[in-house]
Amino acid sequence: MLYPEPIARLIEAFQKLPGVGPKTAQRLALFVLNLPREEVVFMARAMVDAKDKTKYCQICGNFSDSDVCFVCGDKRRDVHTICVVQDARDVLAMEKMREFKGVYHVLGGAISPMDGIGPDQLRIRQLLERLKSGQIRELILATNPNVEGEATAMYVSRVVKPLGIRVTRIAHGLPVGADLEYADEVTLSRALEGRRDF
């Protein structure tokens, strides 16, 4: 069935969202059409506002509403330890834990040749700039455990190691609270590979 042009465009727009296929996009579009006008305006404004008003921390690349984010602006943080993450979202996840007292560096993605993303497309140059201060003692690589995240961690480690800074990689494996009995073989095996001296 053919939709009138404005609806077709809305469906097309929804399809740009991650994980949304044609069917879901269609459902969302029809849902929006049934909302009161104010609701729709509110949603559209929220999107534009978020895009226009969100700033990124000039130091670490985290989301921020001013030039320096809440982590970098906090005098109590340990500035000798930097945790390198892929996305600003990962900063929030780490912060929820309330255990990490260091600061962050957000790369803005992971190396993926297939998607045209190399080191130059990430905030790696900015990271090297930060390291020049000579204050940094440890870099914790907390990129994702998938193939691209791993390649990114390896790349950063290769360019940073010669500077004499300690580089560590967070352990992956069993999720917290996982019962050994119910973990699948692959997870167990990866946890075993990542084991360390005790």
Binding site: M114, P119, V147, A151, Y155, V159
Partner: protein, 368 residues
């Protein structure tokens, strides 16, 4: 293990079907295009989560239906289980369940294992290296989900690395970027090749034995792993990794020119020798069939050795093409130990054997 009952819903030309099987031998007899292979495909679908006949999964759904399901009650040495895979064509989505509970796919792993022999398998002897790699990888994956995962990761890293080589050619060669992909590729390559070499060794012994049994000791079979980077018998991981990285460095100019990765498990192969000559070049049709049969019998024993249970054996058409000596030797070998499903167009050849079993007549998507 054995399938006690099989349930199909909208799978190929079966709208609804329930069959209870014999513990030993089950024959599906019928004219062409009636649905015999479809039954084996359904069993294999439940075991592997995919069709062995097509990549396009919608094809297994009964024409006009929006999805299908295959379920079975499976008996083990100790206990039993109920497995089910349901497939929704519109969403291309599969749901898996074990004993009535929806689970991740990995929960089904090892719950039903099959060894299938179809006429296309002759390509293992005569076909390109990719046929042999697939045979080996499928076999190891059946007993090791970790191997399957390593293999998927390897393929993924390989695709990224090839992309990088292709887009940047020589510029990338000595970069840290390529280096970090190499660093990830090497340990995976080492793990995969190490596992393959040790499996080929076991498979060599087992298939040699099977071949002797099938041919009344007249033919001898040897297999030998062929590595694209010079790995031989060592299965030591650090050693294999070193070797791989060394060869990768030697090949780098050529890789940049061609824009692809030239060594690694994706370029390996294994050779099959029959009485000292390479079977790919010299084996006759009948010899190819019995070689593949020996490999499949070896696979059966290998899986039993690794998991403690014999898999279910599926024979599509090939059985009737074996000569009488081999048919007897085969039935003797599996006698009473392995639940076997055989398709064929004529009953007589098969019923002449004394193995107890059940015969099903297949016609137009119905089974009697």
């Amino acid at each position: 293990m054995r399938i006690e009952t099989l349930f199909l819903h909208n799978f190929r030309n079966y709208s609804r079907l329930q069959l209870s099987f014999d513990n030993h031998l089950n024959l599906f007899i019928g004219a062409n295009a009636q649905g015999k292979t479809n039954l084996l495909e359904a069993i294999n679908f439940l075991a592997t989560g995919k069709s062995h006949r097509t990549r396009n999964e919608e094809e297994v759904v009964l024409w006009g239906a929006d999805g299908c399901s295959v379920a079975a009650k499976v008996g083990y040495l100790y206990g039993e289980g109920a497995l089910k895979i349901a497939y929704l064509a519109a969403e291309k989505k599969k749901t898996y369940s074990v004993n009535g509970l929806t689970q991740k796919k990995s929960a089904l792993s090892g719950k039903l294992t099959t060894v299938i022999f179809t006429p296309e398998d002759l390509a293992i002897v005569k076909g390109s290296p990719s046929n042999r790699r697939k045979f080996l990888d499928d076999e190891i994956s059946k007993v090791s989900p970790v191997y399957e995962d390593d293999m998927n990761r390897y393929q993924h890293v390989l695709r990224q690395r090839n992309f990088l080589l292709k887009t940047h050619r020589k510029k990338i060669l000595d970069s840290e970027e390529l280096g970090s992909w190499n660093e990830q590729l090497a340990p995976l390559a080492a793990k995969i090749v190490s596992r393959r070499i040790s499996v080929i060794h076991r498979l060599g012994l087992l298939s040699r034995l099977a071949q002797r049994r099938l041919t009344g000791r007249t033919e001898s079979l040897d297999i030998n792993y062929l590595s694209s980077f010079g790995a031989e018998i060592s299965t030591d991981l650090p050693e294999l990794k070193e070797l791989f990285l060394k060869k990768l460095a030697e090949k780098k100019e050529q890789e940049a020119r061609l824009g692809q990765t030239l060594i690694g498990p994706h370029r390996d192969d294994f050779q099959i020798f029959l009485n000292g000559r390479e079977a790919r070049l010299f084996a006759s049709q009948g010899q190819q069939r019995s070689l593949v049969l020996s490999l499949k019998m070896a696979e059966l024993e290998y899986i039993k050795g690794e998991t403690g249970e014999f898999p279910v054996l599926l024979f599509d058409d090939v059985f009737s093409e074996l000569d009488e000596q081999r048919r007897f030797a085969l039935l003797e070998a599996i006698d009473g130990r392995v639940q076997t499903f055989i398709t064929g167009t004529e009953a007589d050849k098969m019923t002449r054997t004394k193995v107890p079993g059940k015969m099903f007549l297949v016609a137009h998507g119905e089974v009697k």
